[in-house]
């Protein structure tokens, strides 16, 4: 396992994806640097979630190159080669996607039980650590996902994504459906975890606060490709008409919300 290697976590070149006749991405290039937090924004249907699916090896692109941790990936590769790569990345799905028949603790223990040969005692301790790291109260471990509030559910989903100590964490709209306080707490959690664990983060979000507080760079998806990559501040001042319109609306909404 090349955990300390300085390889580029994600490298996409000329990516093309489509659903039937619908082209989602065409000629998309993106490079994610080690240890950075990259935001992905774009209008509805610009393929943000699909891009995450491609990076997390859930959807095969139609054309183009994908390199994960410096290794060329082809979804036609055997599972025995894809699985080690999947283990090096963690995904937090928008709705959490926690297994509803398992408690939070069991959800977090599952990947550890599956992928390591550690004693059961340690697996439980490691899972409890993850639950503590994401700031959940200890009683939450015994709860079922349906018994958790929205904010707790997201934290539990992060705990499960962190179970195997991935190098790359993919977050699909982490603050969606959360109140501003919970959303801000979650953003702070991402910053803490990223610094302490040396994580690389990719987050798809509509939340301007998250963009400004969490990300180093933001990639704007439009017309099937990455229109611009810049810091959140620079991107909001972009002269590209589509980007300006996007942030114009988002800002306007924010001011309306403030008023």
């Amino acid at each position: 396992m090349g955990r300390r290697d300085e390889s580029v976590p994600v490298e996409l070149a000329g990516l093309e994806t489509r659903f039937g006749a619908l082209v989602v991405h065409q000629g998309l290039d993106l490079e994610v640097r080690r240890g950075e937090a990259l935001g992905i924004v774009g209008g509805s249907g610009s393929g943000k979630s699909v891009l995450l699916s491609v990076i997390s090896l859930l959807k095969a692109p139609h054309a183009g190159r994908l390199k994960l941790f410096g290794e060329e990936v082809d979804m036609a590769m055997s599972e025995s080669r894809l699985m080690p790569l999947r283990r090096r990345l963690g995904v937090m799905f928008q709705q959490g996607a926690l297994f509803s028949s398992l408690t939070v603790l069991e959800n977090v223990m599952l990947p550890l039980t599956e992928h390591t040969r550690l004693p059961a005692l340690l697996i439980e301790e490691f899972a409890r650590l993850k639950i503590a790291l994401v700031g959940l109260p200890r009683e939450a471990a015994q709860r079922y996902p349906r018994e958790l509030s929205g904010g707790m559910l997201k934290r539990a989903a992060v705990a499960r994504a962190l179970a195997l100590d991935p190098e790359l964490l993919l977050l699909d709209e982490p603050s969606a459906g959360l109140d501003p306080v919970s959303a801000a707490e979650l953003d702070a959690l991402f910053n803490t975890l990223r610094q302490a664990l040396g994580l690389t983060l990719i987050l798809v979000t509509h939340d301007l606060d998250s963009l400004f507080t969490v990300t180093d760079r933001v990639a704007y998806l439009g017309q099937g490709r990455v229109l611009e990559v810049a810091s959140a501040r620079d991107l909001t001042e972009s002269h590209e008409p589509e980007i300006a319109r996007y942030f114009g609306n988002a800002r306007a909404q924010r001011f309306r919300a403030d008023a």
């Binding site: 955990r3 290794e71 283990r87 028949s101 390591t116 650590l129 993850k130 015994q142 100590d165 302490a196």
Partner: protein, 362 residues
């Protein structure tokens, strides 16, 4: 990929010297040793040789070591260890509640009572909705109702016809063996027709419909509950009973007797075939004898029962669906429960009908 260095533990007097990569994929190599050593701890840790550390590795260090920062730990990993310590400190040890057998038994009893309660409540709501419908017949969702008739009735025709045909054949075959020894071959007509019309036709139809449509009703409603579509209907001022439950109930009440007629006919065909091949009772003789020996009431008894079975299957299917919580596990459990309960009630009612019809001399 660069080579990973396996983690190592060396005891040096009162100190523990750590080496290599303390990361999740390789931790299993030292786990047992670390657990054994932790019982003699806490140790003073010497971590100059640690090349990598992740949060699970840090957890093991916390377990082994004392409260001090391990000597020589690379400054890159120190914040991680601090964070892990803080997280563990903020959430102290736990107590696992254990569930005794008595509690488990009590929960099962309560669950059964809850199921029955829901069943009766749904029956009541359906009756009220039906009364409301009688006052305002134009409110009937006839399109949804017909969809149910098609999905639960028309689409079930092949499987019911096939299984009833086989059942009729088996009935004639097993009965035929007995009748032949008495030379009473011709009575195969009574045997097959009566048992089929009165019992097996409605019963086999009910069992298949419970497995097909009752289960589908439950899964559909449970999923809708999960998506909060039922709540959405309520907030929009629409009654889920009227929109969702009543069409299913009426649809099945229409489909069941029709399917039972089909099952009777298909079973008869199977019986006729076997009677001809095995007992020498040919088609014409068989079919000519049916109206002579089987009074219309036998046929109508079976059809009447099938209507009631349809009501029960739809009722159980809807009740279990509305009782579900909507997560994946509960959808599966309630669907199973729906089929089991539906068949249970069908057979219990069938037994009650036997007693009732016997008393009435039908």
């Amino acid at each position: 990929m660069d080579a990973s260095r396996p983690p190592g533990l060396v005891v040096e007097g009162d100190r523990l010297r750590l080496e290599g990569d303390w990361t999740t994929p390789t931790l299993a190599l030292v786990a047992d040793q670390a657990l054994a050593l932790s019982r003699q701890g806490p140790w003073r840790l010497e971590a100059r040789g640690v090349t990598r550390l992740d949060s699970n590795g840090a957890r093991l260090l916390v377990w082994l070591g004392d409260d001090a920062m391990p000597a020589g730990l690379d400054s890159r990993w120190q914040p991680l260890l601090t964070l892990v310590r803080k997280a563990l400190h903020d959430t102290p040890e736990r107590a696992l509640p254990r569930r005794g057998w008595l509690e488990g038994f009590g929960r099962r009893v309560l669950l059964s009572l809850d199921q029955l309660h829901h069943l009766l409540a749904t029956l009541g709501e359906l009756c009220l909705a039906l009364l409301a419908l009688l006052r305002a017949p134009h409110r009937l969702r006839w399109r949804e109702t017909l969809n149910v008739v098609v999905a639960s009735g028309a689409l079930a025709v092949p499987i019911i016809a096939l299984l009833a045909f086989l059942l009729g054949g088996v009935l004639a075959y097993q009965g035929g063996i007995q009748l032949r020894t008495f030379g009473a071959n011709i009575f195969i007509v009574e045997l097959v027709t009566l048992t089929l019309f009165r019992e097996f036709g409605p019963l086999i139809t009910a069992i298949i419909v419970a497995g097909r449509s009752g289960a589908a009703f439950t899964a559909e409603l449970a999923t809708m509950r999960g998506n909060r579509e039922i709540d959405a209907l309520l907030t929009l001022g629409m009654s889920p009973v009227e929109r969702l439950l009543l069409p299913k109930w009426l649809g099945l009440v229409i489909a069941m007797p029709l399917l039972t007629v089909l099952a009777n006919a298909a079973g008869l065909a199977g019986g006729v075939l076997v009677a001809d091949l095995m007992l020498g009772v040919d088609f014409d003789t068989f079919l000519a004898r049916v109206p002579q020996v089987v009074a219309g009431q036998h046929f109508w008894v079976g059809i009447g029962k099938s209507v009631v079975f349809g009501m029960v299957i739809a009722l159980v299917g809807c009740s279990e669906g509305m009782r579900a919580r909507g997560d994946a596990e509960s959808i599966g459990r309630n669907t199973t429960s729906s089929v089991v309960q539906a068949i249970f009630w069908v057979i219990v009612l069938d037994a009650l009908f036997s007693v009732l019809f016997n008393l009435m001399g039908w």
